[in-house]
Subunit: 245 residues, 2 copies
């Protein structure tokens, strides 16, 4: 039986989502818990897309196949009782055998948080501390250039010749939540480090190092040049993954 699980994790103490020999990863913890439930027959967790070291998730999605018969509600409970306190399964659903958590994605929403006010130790793992003021008005102008369908090659950190860097961003926004600036992107998919690189450029706009309209030039250049700067992992959170239905 195939199940979809929706889960959250605090990325602080994980070496990212994906399994890595010798490191604590979200995938490893989930697979260990699921394998235990599956009478110790190895279970593979296939997620909607990996997140990097230090990045959080509040609505990550994965699928898994189990040989044992278990209701979704009991699966949720059984997983949670076998998971550490920095991962939590929010929901489990039975899905068709051909459902695929990565291929079937329609959209994903990422949120990036920046604190421009006084440093708050209670928030140190969940937002990027920026000690200088940012011109939010200019950032709001600049973020609009990311909307739509573009070749995001200029915002990929790795210099591999990716066959396809074309992605569509449906929605962008910059808002405030108490002391934090909250930057949101909703798109059909994101390349590795793309969100953090886009935020890095927006911060450059906010500090006046580059003009808002230069964001368009960088995007159009399709070259990752010296403008590059990747915003730190702790500010990033995968909020939501959407599928058909």
């Amino acid at each position: 039986m195939r199940y979809l699980i929706k889960f959250s994790y605090d990325g602080t103490l994980f070496h990212g989502f994906q399994y890595q020999e010798g490191f604590r990863t979200v995938q490893e913890c989930l697979e260990r818990a699921a394998t235990h439930i599956n009478n110790n027959k190895k279970v593979n967790i296939v997620c909607s897309g990996r997140t990097d070291k230090g990045v959080h998730a509040l609505g990550q999605i994965a699928h898994l196949d189990l040989e044992v018969n278990i209701t979704p509600y009991k699966l949720k409970r059984a997983l949670n009782s076998n998971l550490p306190d920095d991962i939590h399964v929010i929901e489990a659903i039975e899905v068709k055998d051909d459902f695929h958590s990565r291929y079937a994605v329609i959209s994903k929403t990422y949120q990036y948080r920046i604190n421009m006010k006084e440093y708050n130790p209670l928030r140190r793992h969940y937002c990027y501390q920026h000690n200088y003021p940012l011109d939010v008005f200019k950032m709001k102008e600049a973020i609009q250039y990311f909307k739509g369908t573009h070749d995001f090659r200029a915002f990929v950190t790795e210099n591999k010749e990716k066959k396809n860097c074309i992605r569509t961003i449906f929605e962008v926004s910059i808002g405030e939540d108490q002391d934090e600036l909250v930057i949101t992107f909703k798109g059909n998919g994101f390349l590795r480090y793309q969100v953090r690189n886009m935020v890095g450029i927006l911060i450059k706009v906010g500090t006046g190092k580059i003009e808002a309209k230069e964001v368009k030039e960088i995007l159009d250049s399709k070259v990752r040049g010296k403008h590059g700067c990747c915003a730190p992992a702790e500010g990033l959170c995968l909020l939501e993954v959407n599928y058909h239905n």
Copy 2:
């Protein structure tokens, strides 16, 4: 020269505020940083009142005496560069030599956070997870009994015969902040575990284990009986300490 400092800390990795041989405490970290600035002459940090293991602070106050001449702004910066990332000095002010951070307190505000919704790993150190619904309406009725001047003997965990357990609570409130219930107490002072014991009783009211009006009976009894239950440390935060002027 005497200075007042306002500071915040994440209580998660501290064994409380007060110095304890062999444990990591907020006082020890602050004294080490201040002593370093004071040309290695031992500095004592006198705070407005200790907080227990796991309890947070966003506006704790202390005073300290330094032999070196340093502006408040430089003191703030120097302390922060010598402190770990879970303590942060928000402000330093020069005060008169007879100012005392504990004796001069007029009021303190504590906040307690409870999550009644889905467990959120990103909030696990900053709120108490309560997996069953609470009747907030009844809790709002019950909390009113704490307002005013009372002998709070029934809400002290230790069974020492405290000479004076009379305290005044000026303001109480129960509100909501996103998924969390936020309980606030402002008073002229609080006994050890008093806030967590009051919250523990409010949770009993919220779950229907006792009636709202029984809170008054317990308070009037001045006896800490079997009703006692101390809400976990992680939900508690010292928000503010107020002085004359």
